[in-house]
Symmetry: C2
Amino acid sequence: PDAGAQAAAQARDAVLTKPPGALGRLESLVLWLAGWQGRAIPQADRVQVAIFAGNHGIAARGVSAFPPEVTVQMVANFRAGGAAINQLCKAFGASMAVHELSLDRPTADFTEGPAMTEDELVEALATGWNAVDPEADIFIAGEMGIANTCTAAALAAALFGGLGWAGRGTGVDDAGLSRKAATVEAGLERHAGHLDDPFEVLRRLGGREVAAMTGAYLAARAHRVPVVLDGFISCAAAAVLHKARPGALDHCIAGHQSAEGAHARLLAALDKAPLLSLGLRLGEASGAVLALGVIKGAVATHSGMATFAEAGVTAG
Amino acid sequence: PDAGAQAAAQARDAVLTKPPGALGRLESLVLWLAGWQGRAIPQADRVQVAIFAGNHGIAARGVSAFPPEVTVQMVANFRAGGAAINQLCKAFGASMAVHELSLDRPTADFTEGPAMTEDELVEALATGWNAVDPEADIFIAGEMGIANTCTAAALAAALFGGLGWAGRGTGVDDAGLSRKAATVEAGLERHAGHLDDPFEVLRRLGGREVAAMTGAYLAARAHRVPVVLDGFISCAAAAVLHKARPGALDHCIAGHQSAEGAHARLLAALDKAPLLSLGLRLGEASGAVLALGVIKGAVATHSGMATFAEAGVTAG
């Protein structure tokens, strides 16, 4: 991040007509944006939302409340403008594009072998990388992929260890939850001894849309575009970079904490404090885009407020 | 609230293209708005923000980090468009008006006698009542008044009992905090035996801008206009109604939890879960207006999303 821009933003914040620190987290958001955008007065006008969709071999194991054909149906819904994320992008003035990743070719069932070949992983990472607009003020990735909370749980378990990463996702019952936990466990057993390299974890246990998000977050870092992370799957994709290099997610903030059981734990592992915590569990980037309200509010106050001198207000 | 509109909103929510409950708190926000607005598809276009300003006799006791002349200076800043709340109202498309309540005539020091006469209380309540637009989709009140976190602490202490309601407000040091706590204690002692009626508590320990907020929240209830509460002072004003009649704040939600020490405790006393918790402690309605992002997102998804049937998506 650009220390000069951050210092200039901080100096401006100190003379705006409010008690020092009174805007709380909005003030640190401005400094974060200023640093990554390299602008003393950051902007949040050009927000890019990219939705990645993929299908998963493990969907056949009954780990979702919805059948796998819903992935392609929801992609059509995104294109027709009918999904939640369409309304949220419209409400917050964000641009939105959908990227399908070989929906007719699900990843391999990771309990039987690696989810992706090396070529498939590279292709998915590149799709994400190429989706990022280097000129965006803020980048947000979302996902759609029936069974992908199970995929994300397997990634989190492999990257951070421990049990209990599987959750209810779109709303599986107790039997479905048991199948998810068993699937994660079987995946970890199947790939034991090959889970030291985070990108190899992604190849063996991940999914195409998850890898695309990983690639996109990496591209955003290269272009110094600040990122708002979404829910459990988004954070699992980001966790690959976190494990690969400490600080690799300094350009990212957590938009929200979702209702998915292990998301709070994953955020803690990434050392990210969420902006919102409203019980969402939809994916599609919905929580991250909802958090834009807070970010836009932060930018609006910082850029528009009068200083004590301008307003003739006595400083404390 | 209109049970028919709520039922219709719930029925629509159930067929929108998302897993049941996946939008979390956004879904309950929609039902709350639908009930009070009497519309199956609620709106959040016409948001009215009214800022009330008053001065306090206790300001002379050194209970604020800022001198009392800042109240009138900040009112000028509101009118000139330079304050935080101006930027937030602009960002979220809310209308904003400022109401000054006899700034040249502070309330009496409540450690010496009642803060207001009965006539003064009624005038302040009426100012608030008359400020509310009965056609607004949502009403938000904010305040400006040097020393009014001390006033609000006295109100909370008198209404709910217990110690420790005084906090750092705009940022007083330890000595200032001690003076605030002592002022609250002296007020409660001075008026002991006269604190059973919540409106009498308001008259004896409150302030004009606080009473205006109380009157406004009551008017909003009469007009069935949903309200977003702001911070500690806003909630103290609302608490008068809560103590006067259980359920009197059913038309209100908490926009945020502020950094003011006892705000979380006051929200708990009102049984309100905040939408945001971002460490704000500015007043001016800033937290409530910031929460509009979430509310507008809720309304946008509910009103704009396609149903499973419309989108050809398989329900779970």
